[in-house]
């Protein structure tokens, strides 16, 4: 590298540092804290200088690598290699993953905490797969998906607590309710352009949450709904001492009572629900509706010129996505036995969107990887919750910049004329 270039990139790095100082100076450097009456400032210049230093150094290193594109290419090469591998071994990967998921509860190191995390990851996988129909296949950016999750959870909770019906009746009802809400919202808004749709769905999600908070008579407001019935194993409840005339799970199977039984049951429940979602999506993608969804994502005008009804087609995607959201919501309600509006904030929607986008729009495997990565790994840094969210948002930006189609973006045709050549 020539001397001139080095000086140039040095100047450039200094400029970066200058900007970084302006960015971090006030917000990081001057921390406000309340003491007694008012607010006081606690300076934190050390952190600022550290951050600024890192920015300068980072910039300088990037510049030293002269061609600015190198780090881009390395990154995307890695990513495409990765997706090529997973693509080749897709079948093996899926089978291994499912087998692993099936035996997971009985592995020696699996404890209560692992099970809880696994259930959470599976819930997000299911939500991701549900939303993948809407965002990944149909290309409709839905930022209010949590609304359908909430509708599912609340309708499950209300039906179950009011009528005392069993999980297997309430679950489909909750899904239907959510789908109904999907149609109700979708009908007027699906004509809108992509970005407007995003904002409107976001608004809808917030409306649902505000209603849940304020409609005391039905939803019990911010206090939420308690005492939601736990699921039973085909009529056998998971209780230490069952009621008069009832047999509980451990008595029936002659086992020592353990709370793990219920957890394991819940684990398999969500695993099955998620796999149903996956199976359904994989199937419907290969049907005419599924193809029309993807065609709409590619070019809506061309679709119209071929006689595809855009509104109805999008509506089915929206309703089906909402239905799976509703199923996941029911599961959430029965697992927690308690729900409140707090669980259904915008950030949940954002997380689910992030899972779909990061995994690779339309890729089912991508959703699994992204969920494990985002929920699982960061779960270990629970105490660093806020840093986790920064990393999270940052990852969304980075992926869009370097690999806008997501990590696993290799789409396979839904039908082949010449069969698999490999």
């Amino acid at each position: 590298m020539e001397k001139k270039d080095i000086i140039q990139s040095f100047k450039d790095s200094l400029f970066t540092g200058f900007i970084a100082l302006a960015l971090f100076g006030p917000i990081v450097g001057l921390r406000t804290a309340s003491k007694g009456e008012g607010l006081f400032i606690t300076p934190q210049w050390g952190v600022v200088f550290l951050l600024v230093g890192l920015c300068i150094l980072g910039r300088f290193l990037i510049n030293l690598n002269s061609a600015r594109t190198t780090e881009f290419t390395i990154f995307s090469k890695l990513a495409s290699k990765f997706s090529a591998i997973t693509e080749d071994k897709a079948k093996h990967f899926a089978i291994t993953a499912i087998l692993f998921a099936v035996v997971f509860p009985f592995l020696p190191f699996t404890d209560r905490y692992f099970m809880d995390v696994a259930i959470m990851i599976l819930t997000y996988i299911m939500l991701g797969w549900g939303l993948n129909i809407v965002v990944g296949l149909a290309g409709l950016l839905d930022l209010g998906y949590v609304a359908f999750y909430a509708v599912g959870a609340y309708s499950y909770a209300l039906i179950a607590t009011t009528f005392g019906w069993s999980f297997w009746i309430c679950l489909p009802l909750a899904g239907l309710f959510a789908a109904f809400f999907g149609i109700l919202l979708g009908f007027p808004v699906l004509r809108l352009r992509g970005d407007y749709l995003a904002i409107v769905t976001l608004g809808f999600g917030e409306i649902i949450r505000i209603i849940l908070i304020n409609w005391y008579e039905v939803t019990n407001g911010p206090d939420g709904i308690t005492g939601i019935p736990r699921p039973s194993f085909f009529g056998l409840p998971f209780k230490r001492s069952p009621d008069e005339g009832e047999t509980s799970f451990h008595l029936f199977f002659n086992l020592e009572y353990s709370t793990m039984h219920r957890i394991i049951f819940l684990y398999y429940l969500i695993l099955v629900l998620a796999l149903i979602t996956n199976y359904f999506t994989l199937k419907i993608r290969k049907l005419p509706v599924g193809r029309a969804w993807e065609a709409l994502r590619e070019d809506e005008i061309a679709c119209k010129s071929l006689g595809v009804n855009p509104t109805n087609t999008k509506l089915t995607a929206f309703a089906i996505g909402a239905m799976f959201g509703g199923f996941a919501g029911s599961f959430f309600a029965t697992r927690q036995a308690f729900i409140s509006p707090e669980s259904f904030t915008f950030i949940e929607s954002a997380i689910i969107v992030a899972i779909v986008v990061l995994g690779g729009m339309g890729s089912q495997t991508g959703v699994v990887l992204a969920s494990i990565f985002l929920i699982g790994i960061t779960e270990m840094f629970r105490d660093l919750e806020q840093y986790r969210m920064i990393a999270f948002g940052g990852a969304m930006v980075l992926i869009m910049v370097f690999k806008p189609k997501g990590i696993l973006a290799n789409r396979k045709p839904t039908i082949l004329m010449h069969g698999d050549k490999k």
């Binding site: 900007i19 960015l23 352009r193 969210m389 806008p404």
Partner: protein, 303 residues
């Protein structure tokens, strides 16, 4: 009647704040055709910078007007840096990418900014003692006394001044012309030797500075902020931009006023709990029935 006038005054004040934020949405939309999701958070950062500067200057005992002016300039300067950086990092590389990419990137940026401020400044709400107190009272002998506080007058006048400067910038200067040219056809503008990147950067800088002024007003008006204020205010301001006709600058201001009025009237006469539902419902209704807003251009898809 008196009550109505009071709500009207409050609504106009609130509307000024929304209007100033809405300009940022509308300008960015006009020039690069994307919804800058992170703009609400830029506003929030502006509010924090203002709050911090108020605390610092509050200790020095300088006269109030000077404090106001200094804080205004500082907030604009530092917040503009954020707007500029966000554009460079998260949007510029995505020009010409597939259509949802910038939106998702903006969403990610919004999450980053929110949590960054939460980490840096703490999650608690930040209260501030009122700086400008007192006001004018009208209808003294009726049972409801209408108060127009000095603060409200300050906010409205400042908004009018800024709007004046801003309108001059856009309509009378080279910068404004370059900006409008970019809106029409970016490639052609570049061919004519105008630095498109710089024009876009400046758009973000102006939008962010105006948002930071709104942030300062918000601190003064409500006296309490937290890292989450950008979300709601952002959505409402976006609604304002759409209501006025996205891409139209007077429209943004008009829309801001309308949203401010709708919100105060709704809280005053209907229900305060559902005041945010009002804003969201307006958003949905407007987008469905008048997607071009009041002052927007009709948008026929060229095929």
């Amino acid at each position: 009647m008196e009550y109505f006038i009071q709500q009207l005054v409050n609504g106009i004040t609130l509307g000024s704040i929304y209007g100033l934020i809405a300009i940022g949405y509308t300008m960015v939309y006009g020039i690069i055709g994307m919804i800058n999701f992170a703009h609400g958070d830029i506003f929030m950062i502006g509010a924090f910078v203002a709050l911090i500067s108020f605390i610092i200057f509050g200790l020095t005992g300088v006269a109030l007007p000077i404090i106001l002016l200094l804080v205004l300039l500082i907030a604009m300067l530092f917040t503009a840096c954020y707007g500029w950086t966000v554009e460079k990092l998260a949007y510029k590389p995505l020009r010409g990418s597939f259509r949802l990419a910038p939106l998702i990137s903006a969403l990610g940026m919004s999450i980053v900014l929110q949590n960054y401020v939460q980490v840096a400044q703490g999650a608690r709400v930040k209260p501030m003692q009122p700086l400008i107190s007192g006001g004018l009272e009208f209808f003294k002998n009726s049972e409801f006394i209408v108060t127009v506080s000095y603060l409200q007058i300050f906010i409205v006048i400042l908004t009018i001044i800024l709007m004046g400067i801003f309108t001059y910038l856009i309509t009378k200067t080279d910068l404004g012309r370059a900006q409008r040219a970019c809106e029409q056809d970016r490639t052609m503008t570049a061919l004519l030797g105008i630095n498109v990147d710089r024009t876009i950067s400046i758009t973000f800088i102006i939008g962010s500075s105006l948002a930071s002024v709104a942030g300062m007003m918000f601190v003064l008006y409500y006296g309490v902020i937290d890292f989450y204020i950008g979300f709601l205010a952002g959505i409402k301001a976006f609604t304002a931009a759409v209501l006025g006709g996205i891409g139209s600058l007077p429209g943004a201001m008009l829309g801001g006023l309308l949203i401010g009025l709708i919100e105060t009237m709704w809280s005053g006469y209907v229900s305060i709990e559902y005041k945010d539902v009002a804003a969201f419902s307006v958003l949905i209704i407007v987008l469905i029935f008048f997607p071009t807003g009041f002052l927007g251009k009709p948008d026929i898809e060229k095929v």
